[in-house]
Symmetry: C2
Subunit: 343 residues, 2 copies
């Protein structure tokens, strides 16, 4: 944003990454007890390693921008409001512990809606053994939900975005593009005829009720083989670009290797969108993208399969250079760095 | 709020204390590493005492509800957005360390305004050796500023609202009613003719640029003579009632002993308001209210005078029972519990 400073134009013309720079401008990277400042999924403070090290992250969701109440049931929105924060803890290999809930509530919101939202939020918190320790409720003209989560590293220390080295292998934790397709289906139908039980059920659930990858994140961090990690909130093209930027490396992603739900092909056709675009640019999946030391791929896949009974997916490699280069099925290359979803 | 649950009416009919109950409903009071949950100025987590104990608090300010941009200069609003959070740390006898800034920004907001706001926020943070370590910026239709602050106890442990005992003496840290009078003057004139330099300068400054009582809070906590403390954000009648509620005691406040700026008499006359109402119900002063073990009043006043070169003001006593009883100059008594300012 530095190039624009003082221009005096409205913030609507500024991209999200530039707005983040605005806060980055004010932040510092060194202070006593500060282990990691802004520029990762969480900030890290406290002891240098082990017990006494804390992770913290905050995310704000705005009605009409990040969710649509006309089709997002309050219980599921309560779950998602918390899940997107838990995902930041997952991305550092952490265990969520405490949250603070800040709500800006419009007068039109009913207490019934609010109680359902709270039931969803407390349900997912209980599932991850995480508790509410504070918050704030204020009045405003639109619903704004801000959640701050505290966690601790499951292993000796948190896993950052900055550890990827050329030769490392790029993995993702699960199907991509599901949430973006689910959202597009909801937008197209305005929520009609796409209820739970429909053909698109899995895609809708990916958008409406994402699952933070807490257990997997902890297992990956504790394996000792993972060099960098982050969650996929803005699309792989953007989120892998963050790892590249923070690590000072580049990456090549093989489009044909990107995992997806079987139903995604049919949804892409129905929506008239490229499947690869949904997988690379689609946000809100809350899967993990991570890099693994070369030679440890099989060992890690085996570890995850035997302990968590699930797969992880090799999708590319870390290279010299910078950015995210996508190799399509025909062998052609395309720089897609930061082409993900912008909230 | 439990009596209203399921009623389905809008939140506009619900008072702020009831909204806080909404979050309290979801919160727990016991968990490993959780020392103090919701119900105080900050939650406290980490080690039971000393190094490794952390304080956390979050406050949300909404345009048109908590501030008015037509007369609140962005630099001063940046300072105040942080100050109200630092005040929560002061109220626990803590040292502020880190903040997270979350901003919901309307498209109409200029980058010039935003940079001035940030300049104010970073200036006050620097004054208290506190640093930005994260945050979030999102788009919305109205400006919402949410600040989360982390601190640590200056002494061995934090000072709570729950330690007051009958016989303790009630003190406040400085003049009351200033900010409420300042706000009323700004509202009446719509910001015209009440610029810095005016007759009302001190009252305006109290509202526009409050000073968190960080140094005093630390000195009081470390003295060992203070039994309970909190900051005055919603007016003495409400904030002392919180101490009474959490401590299971009552209090008597002597109206004639409440300190104020000399200009408050004139402002009350000009505004047609009772001076005592401004002092007891007026919010946003961010002074501290605290209780002192009987017999230590003089020692504490001397300590504060010799180390910080300032006064503290004895205004009442803690009693058996509950609530805040105000004794007027004519000797009559009035229960004013929770009659403070509602945001």
């Amino acid at each position: 944003m530095s190039g624009n400073a003082g221009g005096g134009f409205g913030v609507s013309t500024i991209a999200e990454r530039e707005l983040i720079h605005f806060i980055r401008e004010a932040s510092v990277s060194t202070a006593p007890d500060l282990i990691k400042s802004i520029g990762d999924d969480c900030a890290v403070f406290g002891k240098a390693t082990g017990a006494g090290q804390w992770l913290i992250s905050t995310d704000t969701l705005v009605d009409g921008v990040h969710f649509d109440r006309s089709w997002h049931a309050p219980e599921l929105l309560g779950r998602k409001s918390v899940a997107v924060n838990l995902s930041d803890i997952a991305a550092m290999g952490g265990r969520p512990r405490f949250v603070l809930l800040s709500l800006c509530l419009p007068p039109s919101l009913s207490t019934t809606w609010l109680h359902s939202w709270l039931a969803g939020a407390t349900a997912i918190l209980a599932e991850y053994d995480c508790v509410v320790i504070g918050g704030d409720t204020v009045r405003g003209s639109e619903l704004v939900i801000s959640v701050t989560v505290l966690g601790e590293p499951a292993g000796k220390q948190a896993l950052y975005r900055c550890g990827a080295k050329p030769g490392d292998v790029v993995f993702v934790s699960g199907p991509l593009g599901s949430a973006a397709a689910g959202l597009a289906l909801l937008q197209r139908s305005k929520g009609e005829g796409v209820a739970v039980g429909s053909l698109w059920q899995e895609l809708l659930a990916a958008h409406l009720n994402p699952v933070p990858q807490i257990e997997l994140g902890q297992a990956l961090a504790m394996s000792g083989w993972v060099t960098a990690m982050q969650d996929i909130s803005d699309g792989l093209a953007t989120d892998l670009a963050h790892i590249c930027q923070e690590s000072g490396v580049g990456s090549r992603v093989y489009a044909e290797k990107l995992p997806c739900l079987p139903i995604l092909d049919r949804a892409a056709l129905f929506l008239g969108q490229e499947k690869k675009d949904l997988q690379l640019k689609g946000g809100d999946d809350y899967q993990l993208v991570f890099t693994v030391r070369a030679g440890q791929e099989i060992a890690l896949q085996t570890l995850v399969m035997t302990t968590l009974h699930r797969q992880i997916y090799q999708v590319g490699v870390i290279t010299e250079g910078c950015g995210v280069i996508v190799q399509k099925n025909d062998g052609s290359l395309q720089d897609m760095s930061f082409q993900g979803y912008e909230h």
